[in-house]
């Protein structure tokens, strides 16, 4: 029916679509669109355009913007069309407006009125259209304008309206939770709506709410379980079924909610076990949607309080996924595995070979997912292999976004689990060499800190060794071209600190190397600064040790160059270096002590060394210091902040009158401070509290973590400065130590749990004979050995023929049948091939690129293979040929008599035979007629399947 509906379209429109559909390059498309923009500008500006014409123009505007050009000249016409009485025009208007405008656009204000009116309409379709627009266009400021009506519509007699009203409220909640906080209970109410659609919609806001605060919804566990049970028992209308599964999308949403509610809650979890078990048992693991539900069940099970039976079922499902030939299922399997190993770490071991297969698969998505799994199961026994693999992969990819991510993961794992110093340094070198400019600058500083501090044990020898190996490796690597700046900085710093520390390398050797670095990176001031400071350190260590300093000529010239540098920073460093060169060894020892990076520079924050001076001054009649707490009227600096925060968060005008300024209480306080707090009477709790207890609240506020937002001035000016700025020293430092301790304990506990898991996985280490030694080795290093329980065959080339789950067995059968395709196809019910990503399809004919097949680039005879291979897998009778194409449909004679023309037309799926065609006709009786009508019409307009882009006519589905 849709096709007939389109016949009101003008020739002009059809021509436009035709030319867009047939153009061969982006440039051509751009030309068409630019011409169209000009046409539309003149058309839209002419008065008295008929309404239906206007609708068409609006859709043409949609095209303009969809194809990447600005259509803002026509926005106003979209706004106008929302006022129209005609429902179709109105909805098109709303659609265009939602596609064109974002919620902060100036034109929105012109629509709010229309929306208000439409929400009151008697026609529920008008109300629905308005609610759609509400979900897209209403922002925080306009919520109050429509909120009462939306709430009223929650009780509308039409379920479609109630559903959309729920979603509108959900949208308000997303935009401004505060504006609807009193209406949250409506979502609970709608959960019990008679209509499953409304109930399903209510799950969306409830999911958001439960994500934030699960505890407030524990009472709903029983309701959710009940609903899920009813859904699974097919109590919902048939129309919600999808591929024989009852309302799968609602089931999945419910499972997500249950996972949130049951997480860490034994009692809630126990209520869910039965239904979860039922669903997992009933799931049809031959269909995608069945597997989607199964996967969601595993996610849910792994977040609940552990239940052995369910965990076992989940593990079974995972192994089915991993053994599948479908990459989609293996991807889910890997993901599910990484969720489940948190609860039962031993399960990873059963699947080690499958995991390795995924790791070595050329499919990038699968590989990344596997790295995610490895990241989660890293421990000190396998860190070397995993980080090594990660680095290899990191080097091989060019996507900076992911490169950064994987680099920081490498650093994290290496820092946490490094088995030896040498290895750690080597690993870091590789990461920095290949992704140094991508990793966070903090990582470089961490590395320097780590080299300076060692690994924390009080083992000086080990630390020295770490440094020596770092120096050694840096001297080797630093000659390479194109090292990232961050890495060079680390190198310079380490060489400066430790280059000559172990006496292996002479000062002149190291300084020479440092000069090379500085000269090789003339454009990089930071590196030069690091290099010159390193030089300074080396020289001062030499002077301190009483050795004669011999400044190499190249160093000398470098220093001279820096003395005249445009960068004041470099200049200062150079001058300092020069000054040090002229000092005697005693002085140098004092100012540049050897290996002092870890020494804390003690700051006497109470400035006690001035006590005598103060004492004397007081004795001589000076005013004693009055701590701030004893002074009154002093306003708190933090008031400024809270005030500003408040002002920036509410853009609206304030209508309350200003309060009269109060008289300032104390003279020794700057009056501006005091009055400014009172200028704007904002009813914000914290602010009020601050006023009430100005002095006491000040230090506590700066203690409580908010200090990072302000200048850090602790320790400065305690005696004479305004006490508000400084926090009391003891409390700050105690805070710090607490934090450090926390970190330490966390790390400890991580380490402990890891060592535990290692014990478990080492338990059963049995080798299997047929597995290739390479993989065995990898498996052993990752998991601690291959165990018998893994039935997977080793080599990926054998994958196809190995024993498999039913699906792939079928696909094997299909393979066998493939040679005499024609007979198979005519005798068997035409298989359902709707599902392009069905596992069996992907398993077939791996050497043939299906994309090429689509384009008819391959020999025709190869075509049937994938078609039948996938097809036999499912027994459902349906038309598969039109899935790929139906040239034969559009030009019937082609398909029946001779498949070749299809190929000529660039349609490679011509392998479809006449027999199939007739079956399709049977199945698609009424649709075929429609399709032909449709075809006739467009051909009249000049768009033909033999035109430039025949694929426009291919059926998307059968």
């Amino acid at each position: 029916m849709g096709s007939q509906g389109g016949f009101g379209q003008s020739k002009e429109f059809l021509d436009l679509i035709k030319s867009i559909g047939e153009c061969r390059s982006k440039a051509e498309e751009d030309r068409i669109v630019l011409r169209e923009i000009e046409t539309l500008k003149t058309r839209l500006s002419s008065p008295n355009t008929p309404k239906f014409k206007l609708k068409e123009y609006l859709i043409r505007l949609l095209y303009v913007e969809m194809l990447g050009h600005d259509a803002s000249f026509g926005y106003i016409h979209a706004v106008k069309m929302t006022h129209d009485e005609n429902l179709l025009l109105k909805r098109t208007g709303y659609l265009a407006v939602t596609l064109f405008l974002n919620e902060d656009h100036d034109l929105i204000i012109l629509i709010v009125n229309t929306i208000q009116k439409d929400l009151k309409s008697d026609n529920y379709l008008v109300v629905s259209a308005a609610l759609n627009a509400v979900c897209r266009l209403i922002n925080e400021e306009t919520i109050p304008a429509v909120l009462p009506q939306v709430v009223e519509l929650l009780g509308h007699q039409k379920e479609a309206v109630r559903k959309k009203a729920v979603m509108a409220l959900h949208r308000f909640y997303q935009r401004a939770p505060g504006s609807v906080s009193h209406l949250i209970s409506n979502f609970r109410k709608r959960l019990c709506d008679n209509d499953p659609g409304v109930m399903g919609a209510a799950l969306c806001p409830l999911f958001d709410l439960i994500t934030i605060d699960a505890d407030a919804y524990k009472d709903l566990v029983i309701s959710f379980v009940n609903i899920l049970k009813q859904v699974a028992e097919r109590r919902l209308p048939k129309s919600y079924d999808y591929h024989q599964m009852p309302a799968p999308f609602i089931q999945i949403k419910l499972l997500k909610i249950l996972a949130l509610l049951g997480s860490g809650d034994k009692k809630a979890s126990e209520q869910m076990y039965t239904i979860l078990g039922d669903i997992m048992r009933k799931c049809d693991s031959t269909s995608n949607i069945g597997n989607a539900i199964l996967y969601e069940c595993i996610c849910c099970v792994s977040s609940l309080h552990p239940n052995p039976k369910l965990l076992e079922a989940a593990a079974d499902a995972i192994s089915k996924f991993l053994k599948s030939d479908s990459h989609n299922l293996r991807y889910l399997g890997i993901d599910a595995l990484s969720r489940l190993i948190k609860i039962s770490p031993e399960i990873a071991e059963q699947h080690q070979l499958a995991v390795i297969d995924c790791l070595e698969d050329p499919d990038d998505t699968l590989k990344r997912k596997t790295f995610e799994l490895l990241y989660k199961m890293t421990k000190s026994s396998n860190v070397e292999v995993i980080v090594d693999r990660m680095i290899q992969y990191m080097i091989s990819i060019s996507d900076n976004h992911y490169k950064t991510e994987i680099a920081s993961r490498c650093v994290e794992l290496a820092e946490q689990f490094a088995p030896s110093n040498q290895w750690f340094i080597q690993a870091m070198n590789k990461v920095f060499e290949h992704a140094g400019d991508l990793v966070n600058a903090k990582v470089a500083h961490n590395l320097m800190r780590l080299i300076a501090e060692g690994f924390g044990e009080d083992d000086d020898a080990a630390d020295t060794q770490l440094r020596s190996s770092a120096v050694e490796s840096y001297l080797q690597i630093m000659g390479e071209p194109k090292l990232p700046s961050a890495f060079l900085q680390v190198i310079c710093w380490v060489l400066g600190e430790y280059g000559t520390a172990d006496g292996k390398y002479s000062a002149s050797y190291i300084t020479g190397k440092l000069c090379d670095v500085a000269e090789a990176h003339l454009a990089d001031d930071t590196v030069k600064a690091y290099a010159i400071t390193a030089l300074m350190k080396i020289y001062s260590f030499e002077i301190a040790a009483g050795r004669a300093v011999d400044v190499l000529p190249e160093c000398q010239s470098l220093i001279e160059e820096m003395l005249a540098s445009h960068s004041t920073d470099l200049q200062q460093r150079a001058y300092e270096l020069q000054a040090i060169l002229n000092l005697d060894s005693h002085a140098v020892k004092k100012i540049m002590p050897m290996d002092s990076t870890c020494d804390d520079i003690e700051i006497d924050k109470s400035l006690s060394f001035l006590n005598g001076y103060v004492q004397q001054a007081v004795e001589n009649g000076a005013q004693p210091y009055i701590p701030e707490s004893e002074r009154s009227g002093m306003s708190n600096i933090s008031n400024f902040k809270s005030q500003e925060d408040h002002e920036s968060s509410t853009h609206a005008l304030r209508f309350e009158a200003y309060e009269l300024p109060k008289p300032v209480l104390s003279q020794n306080v700057p009056p501006i401070l005091a009055s400014s707090t009172e200028l704007v009477p904002v009813p914000e709790p914290s602010y009020v509290a601050d006023i009430l207890q100005p002095a006491i609240s000040a230090p506590s506020a700066s203690d409580a973590g908010s200090s990072e937002l302000r200048l850090r001035l602790d320790g400065v000016q305690r005696k004479w400065g305004k006490p508000t700025y400084s926090s009391p020293t003891p409390s700050t430092s105690s805070n710090d130590t607490v934090k450090i301790q926390n970190e330490a304990t966390q790390r400890d506990s991580v380490g402990m749990s890891n060592s535990k898991t290692r014990d478990v996985s080492y338990d059963s280490r049995k080798q299997q004979v047929e597995i290739s030694p390479e993989k065995q080795k990898l498996a052993a290093s990752l998991f601690g050995g291959v165990s018998k329980s893994d039935g997977r065959q080793p080599s990926s080339s054998q994958k196809i023929s190995k024993p498999q789950n039913p699906t792939s067995d079928k696909s094997r059968a299909a393979k066998a049948a493939a040679p005499d395709t024609a007979s198979v196809k005519t005798s068997q019910p035409p298989p359902d091939l709707l599902d392009l990503s069905e596992p069996s399809v992907s398993s077939s004919a791996p050497s043939v690129d299906p994309f090429k097949q689509f384009e008819g680039l391959l020999d025709l005879k190869q075509d049937p293979t994938p078609v039948s291979a996938g097809g036999v897998g499912s027994t459902e009778a349906s038309d598969f040929m039109s899935l790929f194409t139906d040239m034969s449909l559009n030009v019937p004679t082609d398909g029946v008599l001779d498949p070749m023309p299809n190929v000529i037309n660039g349609n490679g799926l011509g392998g479809i035979t006449a027999a199939d065609h007739s079956v399709q006709q049977l199945n698609k009786g009424p649709n075929l007629k429609q399709a032909l009508e449709k075809d006739a019409r467009v051909r009249q307009m000049g768009v033909t399947p033999s035109g430039q882009n025949p694929s426009l006519f291919k059926d998307l589905l059968g």
Binding site: M1, S3, L14, I17, I20, G21, K26, E29, L62, M66, L67, G68, L87, L88, T92, L99, S128, C135, H170, G197, G200, A201, C204, S239, H243, P248, I252, N288, I289, A292, Y295, C299, N328, L329, Y331, L332, D364, T365, L366, L834, D835, L836, S837, S842, S843, P846, F851, F854, L883, T885, L889, N927, Q930, K934, V938, L952, F953, K954, L956, G958
Partner: protein, 143 residues
């Protein structure tokens, strides 16, 4: 939020339908569409139907010459989204009858209407084909 965008792009990289559930300006859309389509076109049929792109996960599915791409959050069930795409295509097929790329081009607004019924605020809200199509059919009758 779940679904961030739904795109239909043909294998020449021409956009046939685009619906974003978070605001991106014209330039951002253009780049995003270009990048994603290039990524998906480079993949073979055997490989996963999921691709990571920046902070999106893109679930895609090819029907004849047309790619359906759905950008989702990290927490979304990819396989379910893959089936959601299929449900969308089935729904369009029921409405248009043997739906093809040209149908979507000629009836862009209707394809959008269907999507509007199925997805709101980035969430899947309706999966019953008759519920999705009934307002559209009523509108057709009325006009």
């Amino acid at each position: 939020m779940g679904i961030r965008f739904v795109l239909m792009v043909n294998k020449q990289g021409q956009t046939r339908l685009a619906q974003y559930y978070e605001y991106l300006n014209l330039e951002e859309r253009r780049t995003l569409e270009g990048e994603i389509v290039r990524k998906c076109l480079a993949r073979t049929e055997q490989q996963c139907s999921f691709v990571e792109h920046r902070n999106y996960k893109v679930v895609y599915r090819r029907y004849a010459s047309l790619f359906f791409l759905v950008g989702v959050d990290n927490e979304e069930n990819e396989l379910a989204i893959l089936e959601f795409i299929h449900l969308l295509v089935e729904t369009m097929d029921r409405h248009f009858g043997n739906v093809c790329e040209l149908d979507i081009m000629f009836h862009l607004e209707k394809a959008h209407f269907m999507l509007e019924e199925m997805v709101m605020n980035g969430c899947i809200v309706e999966t019953s084909k008759s519920n999705i199509l009934s307002p559209i059919q009523l509108m057709d009758k009325a006009s």
